[in-house]
Amino acid sequence: MKLSLTVNGKAQERDVEPRMLLVHFLRETLGLTGTHVGCETTICGACTVHLDGRAVKSCTIFAVQADGRAVTTIEGLASDADHLHPVQKGFWEEHGLQCGYCTPGMIMTTAALLESNPDPSEREIRHAIDGNICRCTGYQQIVNAVQHAAQVGKGRR
């Protein structure tokens, strides 16, 4: 099937099998391997990307469902090393990651959270990442990372 969409701001047109999952399209077809697969069952959130600005799990939607829409992956969040997204900075500052496998998904989820709720409480942050599993950090430093990003956001306003 023909598929045209924008990925990280760039128009893409491909012919894909209708059953191809979005995560595989991103990883295998486009080589954007920052989006990870952790469970294939919409539980772990490692595959989270933004679809038209909303955080979605790319392991349980088909690539063709993204037809005509805009996808942002972790690779598209920062233009270069000197222009990290505040959430990326927060993860770095607060040691919000260890093995880093869940991290792209965590960052995409929490970046979307801060879009809709720029000053979340700890409870709200924990609620937002309840669909993202991290086996390494015990979550606390992830919460700190998001709070750090939120603080930066406040300073900016």
């Binding site: 990326q88 040691h95 093995c99 015990g138």
Partner: protein
């Protein structure tokens, strides 16, 4: 006085992170080689049975399917699946790379399909028809001990893989006879799935030209993989390069060298094309080693004053269907560590490792120690309940006093250093124990189920010495470190530890930065590549910093010594007159000096030969520890249970740990927090469940419950510092600490909450349904 600020002890943020937070790091499945194929496994649907027929023609007829292999194709060309801790003859078991006519657990690989892409390989794997005549399976390790139990290996006399008998010491009998009371416990330490978020993945490339195999694999131990694959496939180890690229967690399950890691190289050599496989989460839950899986039958003799006199009983360890890499040896840590922070006069605990028709068990964060800590902590609480003493008081009365270190326990472990009283005192204050008990009394009066839990614990870390290593391992428990100074004075470190999230790139860079007075960013730390790294062992058992870091430290000292001699020559001084002040080499009582970078350059220019020295500035060191370290801690928590639903809420958690000297508190806190939550996962929700026929009921993350962010309050950390004398860093290791303390701490709290309602025992995990049932039963 050093000129530069010292980075060791500071919260230095990680140099690993920029690539990871941008999605630019490469894990094994992210790699792609030209002409690469994809492999998919056909796995057993039965826990036990005979393979009658494997029919692959349909799979092979699909365009794009390159090959289907079964055991028959491998026969005679490969060895068994690697294993370093083999049971003795008669109890050992062959574990072929693919099932050789029999299947012994659900998920056992039977055939492998190789195709042009991932989707095709998986489709074709479904086309392979496997006919199995099922035979009776045995799943429960206690049931497997029955004389008439189905045998996992028909040619074995029983299902026992390893039996370490109790010593039968008269001392224990005597102490039990003298005791004021005896506590009896039968405790289940349920099977857990390690679930690293990145599953296992392997990419093999046999390069026919140079006759070399390159193997990318998500492992904790690249050098052990190299040795093992060489043995299994009969390829000289010098023809093999193993690379562990970015590794997305391991937790012990990526120590074993698996059949898949041997099969993919075999396929690549056969087809002369690169081939990749990465496990699905279901494959991970079915076919990557599990952890724990113990039953402890324990009796504890105590005195009225709360003193623990002796322990006796049996540890039954479920090793699953075959002896995995470290396999049965893991459980032998358990009796060794059973004394915990206390000093019972005698221990007489036998170990029985049992085969069952389930996935093999092996190391999982803590490996053998959490099981011991759980049991002895439950014993402490039961003694408290029996004597009417406060659980904290019982622990305190049994502590090994701080002036008794080094201390040899009744089981022969030599504890390096400790001050258990200090950690306890700090935790009591931080938690406000008295206040918490007062609030609990009030809550109880209102009919609320509030519980306070405590665990005081120790663990064994920093493994060596090598006497504990298996000869089949071919390398001991030492670790290597290489420090290479470039002519510019920038530094490359290579280390045999192969971290996967622990942050050693940063910690080791700190060591070098401080040693030479350079910036952390001017140090590169390389690991996880057997062509780049001199021999090494890997990362497990909290040995990264303790053993690997010490090797790096030793190499740094060697380099510094040579640099100092070179500086002395250049400064026209005697070596003993020169000292390094953290930035420059200075001649005593003069203003003559040379910066580190100047010396580095001179060491490479070598236009002035220096007597007795070679050009260059590089050193290799290997550290073989003389003993193991024993970090420790005290954890407290408070829970409240909803009597109507059985739901448990964790209200507070305070951890005071002592891991000796800390190189980077930011990383150390990360290890502790992650460990605590992982241990709480066992206490609260995690369990691998097989049904009676051996079907895995927890084969997806929908069924296997992992800890999630909303389950936890903010965990409060504090620490004490009792350095070890066993290494120059004074570091004790930290990776498993939290896991060991948190499981018993939470169970202690849950039972404390439930005791007034008559519930005195409950096996983990403390799921609402289980708690609710226990409450209903107790009310009857």
């Amino acid at each position: 006085m050093p000129v530069r600020p010292v980075s060791v002890g500071e919260r230095i943020k990680r140099r690993e992170d920029p690539r990871l937070i941008r999605g630019l790091a490469s894990y094994t499945d992210d790699l792609k080689l030209h002409g690469g194929l994809y492999a998919s496994f056909v796995r057993s649907d039965y826990a036990a049975g005979r393979i009658e027929r494997i029919e692959a023609s349909r799979a092979l007829s699909r365009p794009g399917v390159v090959a289907v292999y079964t055991f028959e194709d491998l026969r005679g060309t490969v060895g068994r699946t690697p294993c370093v801790a083999r049971p003795e003859a008669g109890r050992d078991a062959e574990h072929p790379l693919l099932a050789d006519g029999r299947v012994r657990w659900v998920g056992q690989p039977i055939a492998v399909v190789v195709a042009e892409d991932r989707y095709l390989a998986r489709d074709a794997a479904l086309d392979v028809a496997v006919e199995i005549s099922p035979t009776p399976a045995v799943v429960d390790p206690r049931a497997a001990l029955a004389p008439d139990a189905p045998r996992v290996y028909a040619d074995h006399a029983d299902n026992i893989a390893l039996h370490v008998p109790a010593t039968g010491g008269p001392e224990v009998q005597k102490l039990f006879a003298e005791a004021d009371g005896v506590v009896r416990l039968e405790l289940l330490n349920q099977r857990l799935a390690p679930v690293s978020m990145e599953g296992r993945a392997v990419l093999a490339h046999w390069d026919e030209g140079p006759q070399r195999l390159t193997l990318w694999t998500s492992t904790q131990v690249p050098h052990l993989v190299k040795q093992s694959v060489a043995q299994c496939l009969g390829i000289a180890e010098i023809r093999i390069r193993v690379i562990a690229p970015e590794v997305g967690g391991g937790f012990g399950a990526k120590i074993p060298v698996y059949a898949e890691e041997c099969l993919l190289p075999w396929i690549s050599r056969k087809l002369r094309r690169p081939v990749k496989w990465s496990e699905t989460r279901t494959e991970n839950l079915l076919g990557t080693t599990h952890g724990r899986g113990h039953v402890h039958e324990i009796e504890a003799a105590y005195r009225k004053n709360g003193e623990l006199l002796a322990l006796r009983g049996r540890v039954i360890s479920d090793v699953g269907a075959y002896p995995s890499f470290f396999g049965a040896s893991i459980a032998t840590f358990t009796p060794l560590m059973m004394p915990g922070c206390y000093h019972p006069k005698a221990i007489d605990v036998e170990v029985v490792c049992v085969y069952t028709n389930t996935m093999a068990t092996d190391a999982y964060r803590g490996a053998g120690r959490p099981e011991a800590a759980y049991t002895v902590e439950r014993v402490m609480d039961e003694i408290a309940a029996a004597t009417g003493l406060d659980p904290v008081e019982v622990r305190r009365r049994n502590f090994i006093p701080k002036d008794a270190f080094p201390f040899t326990t009744a089981t022969g472990a030599i504890y390096d250093s400790g001050d258990y009283e200090l950690a306890l005192a700090k935790a009591l204050e931080r938690f406000d124990y008295a206040g918490a008990r007062a609030r609990q009394a009030k809550a109880r009066a209102e009919g609320r189920l509030v519980g306070i839990g405590v665990a005081t614990f120790t663990e064994i870390c920093g493994l060596g010495p090598s006497t504990g290593a298996s000869p089949i391992q071919r390398t001991g428990s030492w670790e290597s470190g290489v420090v290479r100074v470039e002519p510019t004075g920038n530094v490359v470190i290579t280390t045999g530890v192969s971290p996967h999230g622990q942050g050693q790139e940063t910690a080791f860079a700190q060591l070098a930065a401080d040693a030479f007075g350079i910036d952390v960013n001017d140090v590169e730390v390389l690991h996880g590549d057997t062509d780049v790294v001199t021999h090494g062992v890997g990362t497990f058992g909290s040995r990264g910093l303790v053993v690997g870091g010490t090797a790096v430290h030793m190499a740094l000292e060697k380099v510094l010594a040579k640099a100092s001699r070179i500086a002395a020559h250049l400064l026209d001084a005697k070596p003993e007159q020169v000292h390094f002040d953290g930035e420059s080499f200075r001649v005593a009582q003069s203003d003559r000096k040379l910066g580190f970078r100047q010396v580095a350059e001179a060491a490479h220019l070598w236009n002035v030969p220096i007597p007795g020295e070679e050009p260059g500035l590089e050193a290799v060191a290997r550290f073989e520890p003389t003993g193991t370290t024993f970090p420790f801690g005290t954890h407290f928590c408070e829970v409240e249970i909803d009597a109507d639903t059985g739901e448990l809420e964790l209200i507070r958690y305070v951890a005071v740990d002592d891991a000796g000297r800390i190189v980077n508190p930011l990383l150390a806190d990360g290890q502790r927090l992650g460990g605590i939550v992982q241990g709480l996962g066992q206490a609260l929700c995690e369990e691998v469940v097989y049904d009676e026929s051996g079907q895995l009921l927890t084969a997806t993350l929908l069924d296997y419950a992992l800890p999630k962010a909303q389950m936890f309050p903010r965990i409060e950390l504090d620490s004490t510092c009792t350095p070890t004398q066993l290494n120059p860093l004074g570091a004790k290791g930290i990776g498993e600490l939290g896991t060991i303390g948190s499981t018993p701490c939470l169970v202690s709290a849950a039972l404390d909450a439930l005791r007034p309602r008559g519930v005195t025992h409950l096996d983990m995990p403390m799921k609402p349904e289980r708690i609710w049932r226990a409450l209903q039963e107790a009310a009857r």
